[in-house]
């Protein structure tokens, strides 16, 4: 991946003083987290988390292990209800929404430890992502009424189209659990995209991938953003990937944001270097 080819985005502030890419500044941020925080029985896992994501931004969430990155995703998707703060999705307050409602409202995610429907076929996994986009009821299915055939045909076509993002059409009939690790990660992304999100959350998408697979994944993430015009937040430990494709980066440590900025700013930030590598001995 040639980093020089990809021009760094200029990040500009929106009214909440959070930064979004310049091209997205006229539009409502797809997501805005204000003073987000959660405590688990007195233990503060995340506090004072502020973030705005532009409509077509690729943002990175990095930090050492246990910094609270996945907690942020779990709060955004309401796996946990936040104890402090507000999340605005497309300008709408998501207070008291459930995970299912959040997904319908436009956030899709993948998981750090892959969570596929491993006994079902690859195609069925994608069709499950399309679940709320093909609407025929139980009796239509049982009695095989025309709505069933129409819905299933559409689901099949859309599933194949989505699988073609990662050239996975040939694997459609395979059992999802039998796929190699990298393909399972890609399938999870396809399934998330099938829900037609505004914002895609990727939790360590490159984990367990080799360098060439990672490079291909980077290309694909950018391609997904460009073709679908959605925003993407990714948690990743692979710095080549993060620095290569993220426009804004947010660094977490011990549940607090320690730095925000463009890749270049983050790379040279002393606090970030300290969080990752430790403090230089005085003297």
């Amino acid at each position: 991946m040639d980093k020089a080819k990809r021009p760094e985005t200029k990040m500009v502030p929106v009214p909440s003083t959070n930064l979004v890419p310049e091209r997205d500044v006229d539009k409502l941020p797809v997501l805005e987290a204000r003073n987000l925080g959660i405590e688990f029985g007195g233990l503060t896992a995340l506090a004072g988390f502020n973030m705005a994501i532009g409509r077509t931004e690729i943002a990175g969430l990095i930090g050492p292990n246990g910094a609270g990155k996945t907690t942020v995703f779990n709060l955004l998707t309401k796996v946990y209800q936040p104890t402090h703060g507000t999340i605005l999705l497309d300008g709408r307050d998501t207070n008291n929404m459930t995970t299912v409602q959040i997904n319908k409202a436009g956030i899709a995610r993948t998981f750090q430890n892959i969570r596929l429907f491993s006994n079902l076929s690859v195609e069925d996994n994608v069709k499950l992502g399309l679940h709320n986009n093909i609407n025929y009821g139980m009796w239509n299915g049982i009695l095989r009424l025309p709505a069933y055939w129409k819905g299933e045909r559409r689901a099949h076509e859309q599933a194949m189209e989505l699988l073609s993002i990662f050239d996975m059409q040939d694997l459609a009939g395979n059992r999802a659990g039998s796929l190699p690790y990298g393909a399972q990660r890609r399938l999870e992304i396809v399934r998330a995209l099938a829900t037609k999100p505004l914002l895609l959350l990727l939790d360590e998408p490159a984990a367990g991938m080799n360098p060439s697979e990672t490079a291909e994944l980077m290309e694909n993430i950018v391609k997904i953003r460009d073709t679908l015009q959605i925003a993407i937040i990714l948690i990743e430990h692979d710095m080549n990937l993060v620095m290569g494709i993220c426009e804004g980066i947010c660094v977490l440590n011990f549940g607090k944001i320690i730095a925000k900025g463009t890749p270049r700013e983050i790379r040279n930030n002393p606090q970030v270097i300290e969080a990752y590598l430790g403090k230089k001995k005085e003297g």
């Binding site: 299912v100 499950l128 709320n132 025929y136 299915g141 009939g173 099938a194």
Partner: protein, 358 residues
């Protein structure tokens, strides 16, 4: 499209298997080559097959262990028979009356399943199993204390009293007499009706599994958290599977009850629930065809073992253990799949991939 064809071929095989079995048994009956004891078992076998297939929907497809399935069978059996007796004058045509009674039995068991499912399905795993067990027993004990009678004014229902306090007018009839259950049932169930019910059950279950709703149900089994993350409503689909399963069990119960002249609540206790669960586990979780075969074989088996007298159930248990060991043996499974690959012509095999591996 390839997957769709594979799924429908598998369905045709299942329907065909049941139809062929029905035809063979009918031929045996007409030629008189079937023992009377086995002939008496035909309707119960059909009822147990429906029970096993419906329980497989909860245990194998939804992935939640239910230990109270016989409770729903009981609801279906009692409401079905009550409906049948009260409709005697309105619908004189027996097959229609039987059909209507089975539908009423299925409907009320479905309602019971929904009502029980709403609180119960918030639980998971072992806790859910224990609570379904409890509800099975509750249904049994409620039916034990129930007194229902019919007269010109309609149905009279009493709880925890006795039959005389139903205050039936002249010509009225006590239908459910508390722990004595229902006696004097006209035997309406036939093998043909049982066969029809199996086919309807298979049609509902197989089509449900291979549809949007069924996929959602299986997604909950495979990974609930992921299912929620793609916008699948957990309670809705759990309840759908549970209620459908209960309704089919109710239909089976009505069919079963109308094969006997007397029916009592304690027949549908924990033992029956476990018996059905044995069919499902033995036939393979999620394997509908397996449930049918297991239910049939294990219902006939005790009859076949009658010659061993007192040792009958011991041998039954030993056979169960042996079958469990055999069906879970990897070597044997590999041997069978090799055998299948060698015997079947290549165009019948599952696809190119399977052929390469074989």
């Amino acid at each position: 499209m390839k997957i769709m064809r594979k799924a429908s071929r598998s369905k045709v095989i299942t329907y065909g298997l049941v139809a062929i079995a029905f035809i063979i048994v009918q031929l045996l009956i007409s030629s008189g080559n079937i023992s009377s004891s086995l002939q008496g078992q035909l309707v119960p076998i059909c009822a147990y097959v429906v029970m096993a297939v419906s329980l497989n929907l909860t245990v194998g497809v939804l992935g939640e262990l239910s230990l109270g399935h016989a409770g729903f069978m009981s609801v279906g059996a009692f409401t079905g028979v009550v409906a049948c007796i009260s409709l005697e004058s309105i619908i004189p045509f027996t097959i229609l009356r039987l059909t209507v009674s089975i539908i009423i039995g299925a409907f009320s068991a479905g309602v019971a399943g929904t009502l029980i499912g709403i609180p119960v399905l918030r639980l998971e795993g072992d806790y859910l199993a224990i609570v379904t067990l409890a509800f099975g027993e509750i249904i049994k004990n409620i039916t034990n204390c129930l007194y229902v009678g019919v007269d010109k004014a309609g149905l009279h229902v009493n709880f925890l009293t006795d039959a005389t306090s139903l205050n039936l007018s002249e010509g009225g009839r006590v239908i459910i007499d508390g722990p004595m259950g229902i006696s004097g049932i006209t035997k309406l169930s036939t093998f043909a009706m049982g066969f029809a019910l199996i086919m309807v059950t298979l049609f509902i279950v197989l089509n449900l599994i291979d549809s949007r709703s069924g996929r959602a149900i299986m997604a909950l089994r495979d990974n609930r958290i992921a299912a929620e993350s793609v916008g699948i409503h957990v309670t809705k689909y759990k309840l759908m599977a549970f209620a459908t399963s209960a309704a089919l069990a109710g239909a089976a119960g009505a069919l079963y009850a109308m094969n006997y002249s007397t029916i009592i609540a304690s027949k549908f206790g924990f033992n029956t629930s476990i018996l059905i669960l044995v069919f499902v586990v033995l036939g393979g979780l999620g394997n509908i065809r397996g449930s049918i075969i297991a239910a049939t074989v294990l219902t006939i088996l005790p009859e076949m073992l009658r010659q061993f007298n007192n040792y009958r159930m011991v041998i039954y248990a030993i056979v169960l253990v042996l079958i469990m060991l055999a069906t879970n043996d990897d070597n044997l499974k590999g041997f069978l799949s090799n055998l299948r690959n060698r015997l079947l012509p290549s165009n019948l095999r599952k696809g190119k991939k399977g052929a390469e591996n074989g």
